[in-house]
Every structure is written in C-alpha cells, then in structure tokens.
Symmetry: C2
Subunit: 228 residues, 2 copies
C-alpha cells in the first residue's frame, strides 16, 4: 500500500481544497503537465478544462485565477522539499553534514521522494525553475506575502538558515545566504539549459550532481573558517 504525504498548503491560496475531490485532484495533476508543455503564459483554465474534460467555470471554483494555481503548485513543491530536508537532517548532529544533506535534498528528485508524492516532482521542479519568479516578482507580491502565500518557501529558507547558524553562529547573513542558495539551485538549473554562458554547469546526465557539488563548494568557502 502506498502512503502519500500531502503537504499542508495554506488554505487561503485556494477557494476549494483540490485534494478533497476527484475534480480537484485532476486539476492540480493535469495542470502540472499542461503548464510544463505550454509554459505558464500560454496556459489557461479553458485549455486545462479541455484536457481534463471539464469546464473553465468548474476550475474557477477551485482557484480564483491561474496565478493562484501556480502559487499552489509552488507551495506544494517547497513544502515537499522542506519536509524532506527536515526529516533527512533532524537525526544528524554534525551541522555540516546536515547542510550537505539539505543541498542534496533540495537539488535532487529521487525515487523515494516521488513515491510519497502524488504530483510529478520532476515536472514540478521544472515549473518552479521556469515560473517561480512570475509569482514572487510582482506588484502584488507584498500583499500575497501578507496573506501567507509564501509561507512554505519561507519555512524552507528558515530551515536552511538554521543549519547555517549552527555551522557558523557568527555568519552575518544566514537568511540571505539561505535564500541565495535556493535561488542558485533554480538559476543554475535554468541557465544551464537556456543561458549556458551564465554558468559553469553543463547540461547532461549529471547536471544535478554538478549543481550539488557547486553549492557545496560555495558553502564550504562561505562557512568553513580557518582557525586563526
């Protein structure tokens, strides 16, 4: 029997909880595919309705607009990553090892992760890589933040910055560094495919391994102080 760990998503994000109904599940499940194929800009509820043999109006009963659906999918992704990082690191005592594990969990998508999740994590990662800035860099961002739409992402930042603080309590910018690390993982994933001259990461089989190594390299330099 399969046990799924559905992440807890802030209920202000949706109008009606999609995981509580067949139609709702179809909506989030299919949107992951469709956003990936079309790109978020060309994606809309009419097309999604056609895809799942339902209607535009029915989807609007779950999400007030497509932006909120994207916010929902992103929250799902970050919440999943955070859950993973917390559960993979809380039994470890050495904070440096914690950070290594956290980076691994952040960058990779394993069979084990996927088996616990009803949404396709590779596709979800591709969406976040391509589209996450479309929800965070807007004029509405401040008010969305106040509504708690970015809680999952912020929790993840906090988890990572906590580890950073454990390693080097004197480090002046743990939160910025955590945010920056997450952004690096997204950015380099994107750039290696689309703007290759902006990163040393090469597209290919071991891309995630390369990103993992790179992030570890940065962390070592930023946090491992020489004994004076």
């Amino acid at each position: 029997m399969q046990v799924y760990v559905n992440p807890r998503i802030n209920e202000d994000i949706y109008l009606k909880d999609p995981i509580q109904s067949d139609l709702g599940k179809k909506i989030i499940f299919s949107s992951v595919n469709l956003v990936n194929t079309l790109g978020f800009d060309k994606f809309n509820f009419k097309k999604l309705g056609a895809e799942i043999k339902s209607t535009e109006a029915s989807i609007y009963r779950y999400f007030p607009n497509k932006e909120r659906l994207l916010i929902y999918l992103s929250a799902w992704y970050w919440e999943t990553k955070n859950y993973l990082i917390v559960s993979k690191t809380n039994s470890i005592t050495d904070p440096r090892e914690k950070l290594t594990k956290a980076i691994k969990a952040l960058v990779n998508v394993t069979e084990e992760m996927q088996s616990q999740n009803i949404l396709e994590l590779h596709q979800l990662q591709a969406i976040v890589t391509q589209e996450f800035y479309k929800i965070t860099r807007t004029k509405r961002c401040s008010s969305h933040n106040e509504s708690g739409y970015f809680e999952s992402f912020k929790r993840l930042c906090t988890s990572i910055s906590d580890i950073i603080k454990e390693i080097d309590p004197d480090f002046k910018y743990p939160i910025t560094m955590a945010t920056s690390l997450i952004e690096m993982s997204i950015s380099n994933n994107f750039c290696s495919s689309n703007l290759p001259s902006l990163t040393e990461i090469q597209c290919g089989e071991d891309k995630r391994k390369q990103i993992e190594d790179m992030m570890t390299y940065f962390c070592e330099r930023l946090l491992v102080r020489c004994k004076k």
Copy 2:
C-alpha cells in the same frame, strides 16, 4: 555642456532606433516612468501612446511588442553598469580593490552616473529589480539569447568574472559567482521592500550601502583564502 554616453544596444532588439528621433526618445523616456508606476503587466502601448500624446500604432513602429521594449530598457541598464564598472576599474591594479569598486558601481546610482545618462537610472534600476526575470525566465529565452538580446547582461557577467579570476585563479565557478552576485544585488533590493523575512537587508536610507557591504562580505569569504 552636457555629454551623454548612450550605451550601444544590439540593433536587433528594436525595429527603429529610438534614440534617432524625437518620438523614439519620448517612447523610451516615458516608458521608464510608466512601467514603474503601473508595473510591466498593466503597462501597454496604448497607455504609453496616451502619455506621450502619440498613438499605439506609432510605438509599434519602434518595438514589435512590449517585451522587446523591456529587453531594450534592461540592456540599456546593464550596458550602463558595465561601462561604469570597466571605466572605474581598468586603471586599478589590485584586483580586490577592483571587485570592491565593481560592487559599488553595480549597487549604487550616483549623481555622476546619472549626469551622463539620458534615462533615469533609479527608475531603470527599479524596473530591472521588478521585471528582469520576466524577460529571462521564459520559453522564448533561448531564442532571444541566440538573437543576442542578452549580450549586455552577459558582458557585465564576464567583466565581473574576469575580476574574480584575477583574485583567485583557482576558484572553480567564476561565472556562476558573477551571475549570482548580480542576482543577489537584484534579489536583496527587491526582498528588502517586498519579502523582508528573506533577507537581512533593511529598507531605509542606507539600503544600498547595506547591500554593498553584504556583497563584499560574501566575496571576501568566497575568495580570500587563508594562507596555509
């Protein structure tokens, strides 16, 4: 007499060079204001036409769509920053001092910079901060890159990564670090205003100074190796 240094912009970005005509200059000049007030999403050529007492159709003769106008404005900004960084650092021999100057030039907008530029640099910085990802994180990004639309940004990355290489020729990821530094400057500027829990930078008078200090702090840790 005022001497303006107009950055050289890849001519494939526009249909007709805006700095060669009165209307063209009005278009780029006013768009900086209007994009800032409305945000790029609600900005359009009809509204811009009304603003400059011209028409939608006339503006479409300069730019094929509003995205390309944003690409143009971004290129202008990055080209300006790169020109500044190059001219401020080429007489310096100590590469560490070079990097400090480069960071300063990247983060700040001074009277001196502004006096040489016909576009309002503070507003341009605000636009890049808010909207830059809307042109780089798209499905069209790869093909835009092949058309050379991001040359200015890439030149800036190269300038900075060259300095990094001078400081530490063994550093494994100079390009990634350069890209990441620029992204940090944008991100922290944005987050301090809109997502304050994601950064240590506080909004206020000395915000740019804080960002400058933070970036220098990161660079010191990443590049200054302890002698073994």
